[in-house]
Symmetry: D3
Subunit: 220 residues, 6 copies
């Protein structure tokens, strides 16, 4: 095999293809092909589609959110279902999430850069709300069977105020809404101390404490 | 008051304003104003927005799908929640539906012209599927906690194959996905007998029976 | 050559790439490359673009709908022109169709999941209409030189009511509008008998007859 | 009647409402209401929709391009059909045009800022083409039954090179594609002489001649 | 005048119309009419358009960002230019901002829910960056003549690290990108103490201090 | 290596992938990979994305428009910055341009098929304007610190009317707005003489002179 060939194959294996856009698909659907050889290195939403005869009903069914997983320290569990987990969503402009809150647990303030969320309470009593561009908060307790909508790109949050675990099913109008959790994005990402001190009116020590709390391993 | 003035006011009261488009809102949200004077004649999605100080958290919460209503003859109940019922959805590009199926009940073949649907089974065992542009069906039984996706504009259907009522929560990536139920749209809408006879290979009598079954009162 | 290499090449040859979206191209145009080596297995709308110097005026001209082909049993002929047939349409958000109707011929109720259609009558007298989301039909006879518009995703139909063949030119605002023909999609796709019986109020025998009439060879 | 009332009515009568966007309608259709009282001063695409029961099949049919009108000096006739002429197109993202060319007649270089055009030759032999962003021209003669596509926003043109009048049916993927005819837009719009002299390398006299040729009455 | 009339006029004066969407205008432009009678109560982006003859070149020119205004406590000044300030931007899908930073001044972490920003440094040395969905920060010092891009909906920030005031010109691909400043949105909006304590690992006293620092007058 | 393999590799190296659309990215960003092996033959906006750990802050900073380059004969310099020059813009729906005008220099009438432009005057006095679909011109002199907006797809132009060089920073709401310069697109592209003579009312000699002036080397 020539050296040239080798280089090309490395590229195909190691990078995912650019670009995709939520609105207005030009095909009925596209089930990314994940068989051996396409390898897990390739971003799912950019894999080639399966040929039609290979697509089956199971490709459009997802069974992975029947139950919650382990809670975090703040009593939270979430499983986001985008095309990476559920390839059948590819190109269809939607995704969803199951979130569970332990008694007193919280879903810290966060937002989704690319989607509105419709959140349905499957179980529990949840203090739930969002903040608009004028810094007004719209929040109240919602209960089983109630639905709250969080407009695209606005900071929102939830806290279980009932006496049993709560479960929420959220739907998004993007196949990959993205997420920024405020504590981690602001204090755990590596923004310069000086800027954070001035932005929040905190001392270097206070920013340092927050930073150590939220920075993940391996961050720069 | 001059006659000209009268005419104009009648127009304002009786018609809803034109046009709206799902993608990319240019404001955080818009709660249509429904106070006395705007009258129920005006299409909700085209009402003026409430002024910001009048908007409250309740505007973003919907409590009307906690339970099912009466089943139809085919064992079906559905409540579609668009901005008409839940004004907080306006301009946000999403809506949802609660559907219930009695034992053996069906949700007849139908499609939504303007949205993909993500359907989550809250209770029950549901035979669920859709048909693609090549007339292939993708269908199987899904159960509580499972999710099926129906790509935009494709015919889909559901049937309760379990031994207790089933409940489904569907989400859409349009604030008004629209719906066409095949039996009613084709046989109950008033399309000429001759065309339907030829299209389905049925006799005039057979088409007549189907027509009487599906035509609503007051149809032309 | 290593086994790994073989697998990758098979993937490239056998699958088409994912994703594309109608609105807002980011280039003037893109003529998919179809020379030997790209093979007919690859979906046209996802082929690489030709290099600019290889693009010629002929790439933007289509000559394949000058005449009708053979009529079906219901007196219908249609040739849909999407990027697969006319690569110059790629990324431009439009496609078109020539449809011919023999005397008494019909274009059975169908819809396009992803486009509005503007239908121009080139020849003949055509009973033409569509059904809206409230199951109202809007239909009348239109003649040579007249145009009817079918809104996106709504069921529509045509029947030649004149005494000579009719020809229609339809344009779409999607490069791949898709199509679902109701008789085939509902009765010929393999949806369970029981569901169809209940949906249409038909007996098992009646559904069976319709199924045999509309199922294609090789369907599951 | 109070002065305040008078002011408001003047506003309603004299201005058209802002805003509308081609993609993704949130309703089946919208037939603007044009009855007495709404007056012709209001832009059609922003009128209120008719109430559903008032909408009829005729609202979706256009009969005004069965024949050509008078040719201009350059042997050209065109009738653009947007919602202003054919209200049924409102919100549906499409429009169309009938263009006729006398023997030797031309459709001068022009472009549509907001749409791709698919042009179908109904009669005649037409030299037809467009220019891309690198100033390459793609042009050839097309004949009855052939179709040429002009990508969104690119300069294109047509000339009847046959020995009988030609007729073209153009479709657009915008309800209001807009148009800029180069001779009139550049030389007839009132751009300063000095800039045009430098841009085209022409003398003041030459620019003056072109200006007089293309400026319309009443231009500033 | 009848009571009914009075109610209607109040509505027209006090509320702004719903809905608008950034992409794909269906007209060349729309200059909202702001003359007496339309009143300042109406949201600019939903006013009727001026009639064409009333539109002038000045409608498309903005002169209000030639100089900076007073700095805030954190050494920051910003003037966002959307259709409210510059009506000519209406329906065109763009807006812009002038931001000035005193020596050591900061633009606190914030994001724009509906737009990407291209930020051009007109003067000064600016530490500038953003955080992605995985909480990685991309930041460095940029200087006069350099440009940084902040992807849609991601938290970004700036700090003047030079020894003279800095000026930045930011452009957005939405006519109303919106903004959420993290300190004010999270600590100054009225989210329950308990949730914020848990989210940031702070004491009630610490949250209280932050709340007093960032809450605006008149917030609930 | 088999002949089949060779063919495939040639395709991958020589063509760029099809398709991309400005609106609504489904990922935070995408930095096209340009390392050896991907080769310069591939269109930047369709390269695979870099893996996240390889992306750095510099990928989002552009330093190439700090100064002007050489002026053309008409006293003009422009550097358009799209993803080809600044890969960080990929998928983000924006691009920009630096334009410089010598004393008396012009930016000839041109338009961008796919974007609105917001033009900020960094230095100088510039006669600046555009033409709408009705051939009305909107033009005036703007100076340092002023901004003019050119609606999507409309012909616009600039001329330095001050006594020192002028600099303009233009922003676009497309990652690749495209451009058609009228003199070159119309007279330098190879449109048939006869059509241009009739369109502009010029003699064959006059068209010939314009053609020689604007045709580039190597045009057909």
């Amino acid at each position: 095999m020539s050296p040239k060939t080798t280089v090309i194959l490395v590229i195909i294996l190691n990078f995912h293809l650019i670009w995709a856009s939520d609105p207005d698909p030009v095909q009925d659907f596209c089930i990314p092909d994940t068989k051996p050889g396409s390898t897990s290195h390739i971003h799912f939403s950019n894999l080639p589609c399966k040929n039609s005869p290979e697509v089956i009903a199971d490709d459009f069914v997802f069974s992975g959110i029947k139950s919650a997983g382990n809670f975090t320290e703040t009593g939270f569990f979430a499983k986001s279902v985008t095309p990476t987990l559920f390839p059948g969503l590819s190109t269809l402009g939607m995704s969803f999430v199951r979130a569970d809150l332990d008694v007193g647990g919280i879903n810290a303030p966060h937002f989704h850069p690319r989607a509105t969320e419709v959140a349905f309470v499957l179980e529990g009593m949840v203090y739930s709300g969002f903040v608009d561009s004028t810094n007004r908060v719209y929040a109240r307790v919602i209960e089983k069977g109630e639905v709250m909508v969080f407009p695209r790109g606005l900071v929102h949050f939830q806290m279980n105020v009932g006496d049993s675990p709560a479960t929420i099913l959220g739907s998004f109008n993007s196949q990959n809404p993205g997420i920024q959790r405020i504590p981690e994005a602001v204090f755990g990402s590596g923004i310069r101390y000086e800027l954070l001190e001035k932005a929040f009116g905190l001392s270097a020590r206070e920013v340092g404490l927050l930073r150590r709390r939220f920075i993940s391993n391996g961050k720069r």
